[in-house]
């Protein structure tokens, strides 16, 4: 799994010249191999549909539904009322609340706060609220 994560991250490292064609296959292949592990979180009993892999520690808000097929990296915070499926969330991401995130990749250190949004098949990075000039949203 770590190899595939690294390969995905490497492939996304230069967003301006991104090879979008490879992304769906890489994402699918990574999520197919996911080992279910939800031990490492702080939160009030979210709903998990396996497989969900929390590299952790992950802070999870209220009424969150994770899975199936979700990888979450280290030091991630997930706000209330989020639903995430078939997605990869890299390290140090902060997610706001009330988003439905499906088939997405959120790059490390991002802060994404798009309340009441349905995000599907997009790569997100940057900080959409405090530094909008850094925010990127690329469909694949």
């Amino acid at each position: 799994m770590i190899d595939k994560l690294n390969e995905l991250e490497k492939n996304l490292s230069n967003l301006d010249e991104i090879s979008l064609k490879k992304v769906p296959e890489l994402l699918k292949s990574l999520l197919k191999d996911l080992a279910h592990d939800v031990d490492n979180y702080i939160g009030d009993f979210p709903t998990f549909i396996e497989p969900v892999h929390l590299e952790g520690p992950v802070k999870i808000g209220d009424d969150v539904l994770l899975g199936p097929n979700v990888y979450i990296g280290k030091n991630v915070e997930i706000g209330d009322y989020n639903e995430i499926s078939n997605s990869v969330i890299f390290d140090n991401v902060r997610l706001g609340e009330n988003m439905k995130i499906e088939d997405c990749i959120i790059l490390k250190d991002s802060v994404i706060d798009l309340s009441d949004s349905f995000l599907k098949r997009v790569i997100l990075s940057g900080n959409n609220k405090k530094s909008p000039e850094t925010f990127k949203r690329i469909a694949f």
């Binding site: 279910h36 939800v38 009030d44 009993f45 979210p46 709903t47 998990f48 549909i49 396996e50 009424d63 899975g67 199936p68 097929n69 209330d80 009322y81 499926s85 078939n86 609340e97 009330n98 309340s115």
Partner: protein, 239 residues
Amino acid sequence: MTKEDKELVSRIKELESINLARDEIRDVVVETKKGIEKENEKLANKIHENLLKNKIKSFDIVGAIGAGKTLILEKIIEKISSKYKILVICGDITTRIDAKRIEEKGSETIQINTGRECALNAYHIYQIIKNKNLEDYDVIFIENVGNLICPSDFILGTDMRITVVSITEGEWVIEKHPMLFKMSDIAVINKIDLLERLGTNIDKMIEDARRFNPKIQVILTSAKTGKNIDKLLKLMNLD
């Protein structure tokens, strides 16, 4: 979301009874509850269509914690896994204890941890089956969260609903939980290997089930000894 909105959502979630809603939010609570029921039914129908299209037999197995749902499923899988390609979906508040037990019998199993929700709903099931290649399966079993109350609020789109009770829960258990039996196709009265020791009034249990649902089929089993599991399979059309 504003603080007021969050408080409203929190309040609606906590309210089991519309009567507890303060006047100013009563309408919202009623509309929300109706909306949820409607959405669940819509999704359940979609699930059922999908499963029928793929010629998959499906079963929702409900019952209190400790009634014997998992052991019955283990016995069923032991008997039919060579004939059918099986997927099992297990629902529990937390842990994957049941999923692990069933996996050890050789079946593909997916665990849903429902957290603060006391039953599986059609959305949980839909999220799983839409990510699966349904051509790979002949039979889907869903083992619901262990309780005899909440699952009656959410149909899951399966062919059959089977409610499992055990004689250790006492002979009044069916009389006290009519809703689930009204919606079930089969009532399994389990742990009959303990009948002599406990003296539970089985006749009353059978009578209660049939009174609430004249069409329900009632069967006495012992998952521990294997008694009548073959007959149960026949009732499920899996023999």
